[in-house]
Symmetry: C2
Subunit: 294 residues, 2 copies
């Protein structure tokens, strides 16, 4: 495999259509002529091609749920016949998420938002997050959430001449959905409730600019979880226990408030300020995700 | 002060010029008719106006070092006569950094990249980071690093008709400077050296997707520090000790390797793998920044 190339490719632009995978490969946008992911498991992924090889993909043009690599009976087949594993292309995508690497996205004519024929280059996307989900076949797959660096309207303008005639934009709310504006007041309030101490380990991190703590949402904001931005959906964590919480390294039992999955806190219960009522439903939701991902 | 409004304002676009601060205020882009920062210390900042009130501002159009609020003999004067404090407008900007809030930027005719006359709206920027620096007057000021959500060439296109005749782009390297492509292999290598354990606290954070650790650059990559992306400039940290390190909550003595500034690690020395030689110069540089910011 050739050296990875990150970012835009000179001489190409968004909306360019290539007649087949060979021409796409020659353009250097996506060199491997067969694989959907161009990446290495110790360097990240620089490009993907969407060609509807997976039954669990979701594609809203500026936002994609992209299913990882492997677990199919035949390569490039549509049916999952085993669980996917976090190696090769999947590990490359995980690194791209961790390091916020730019990923070129190309859509094939096989996809609903692809061009009428050939393969269309659709610009740079970033991996927002990833998770393991039970796919439609009952096997576990990795789902990578990618979003375009462009606003949907700007992206549409650049590719409008190479869209299928039945393309229609998914319904959207009027507000800017690209970046969710959190209620900062609430986040600051919850940190003050706990004096910026982590509810798990009680650590207090001091810097010359103030104390560091994270107001974590138990059920995440935005797609696909759509958790609410309310105090009942928040806890105060240090960055370590926030990263672990978000990546399903532990959970908080919704009945007993026990911390589960961290050996240094066996039997310990998380304490809540009397003015802070967490909604059990959100802890239950997170626990379900924990179980699914472990 | 009216309610803050985040993001783009309906009916306005990048490149729009307003004849004075009153018209700008009426457009809702920047409502306060006098202040440079429109924000609240528990909600963040949604807009700033550059009008060269501060002697330490740097402006490269798509990248701005914006000096915080206060410490001048007369409001809106050019001379610092005391240290700035992390409250009001400055605290609002710090929240915008923490929560990655969109900030509208307007340039006045007084600035080198401003319009020939009036005030020009230049779109959405984000606060990348901030630091306390000794300004030209010898007093401490906050410096906020803002970057445009647009590429410099796209930004220039939108405002080309309202630029001063002597506008010239600062020299730039050919590579995409918006996002620094780190050497992922090196980052992964250093984590493996230490088995994903924090060199400060030895913690190991396990998730179903692998262990969490951060390959931290001692002297930062990119503007303004321009540290190198080499093993000699890296250490392996947990997110907590990474955040503290980056925000000058502690430093590592370049002579003795002692951890300084964390009361739970008094007298403790950081240990290095024998294959990992850290360059003292970078530790010295970080120590200097620590002293400056504390």
């Amino acid at each position: 495999m050739k050296n990875l190339i990150f970012g835009e490719i000179e001489g190409t632009k968004i909306g360019d259509v290539f007649k087949d995978r060979i021409s796409l490969s020659k353009s250097k946008i996506h060199t491997p002529p067969m694989y959907g992911i161009w990446g290495r498991q110790n360097e990240g992924a620089c490009s993907i091609v969407l060609s509807e090889g997976y039954e669990d993909d979701i594609d809203e043009l500026d936002y994609i749920f992209y299913t990882g690599h492997g677990g199919q009976n035949v390569p490039g087949g549509r049916k999952q016949t085993s669980d996917q594993v976090p190696s090769r292309g999947n590990k490359a995508m995980m690194l791209s998420a961790e390091y916020n690497l730019p990923i070129r996205v190309t859509r094939g004519h096989q996809t609903k938002n692809g061009p009428p024929k050939g393969y269309r280059y659709d610009g740079i996307y970033y991996v927002n997050r990833y998770e393991k989900i039970k796919g439609k076949s009952g096997f576990y797959v990795f789902r990578f959430h990618l979003y375009s660096e462009l606003k949907i309207s700007d992206l549409e303008k650049k590719i409008i001449n190479n869209l299928k005639s039945d393309y229609s934009r998914a319904p959207r709310s009027k507000i800017n959905i690209d970046r969710i504006i959190r209620n900062i007041k609430l986040s600051e309030k919850i940190k003050k409730f706990y004096d910026y101490k982590c509810q798990i380990c009680n650590v207090s991190l001091k810097t010359p600019f103030g104390k560091i703590a994270i107001a974590a949402h138990i059920k995440r904001l935005g797609k696909p979880d759509h958790g609410p931005d309310t105090l009942g959906n928040m806890i105060c964590l240090c960055p370590n226990h926030h990263d672990l919480f978000d990546n399903y390294g532990y959970y908080i039992d919704d009945e007993t408030n026990e911390i589960k999955g961290l050996k240094e806190f066996v039997g310990k219960k998380i304490k809540f300020n009397k003015n802070h009522k967490v909604i059990k439903e959100f802890l239950k939701f997170h626990k379900k995700k924990f179980i699914q991902n472990n």
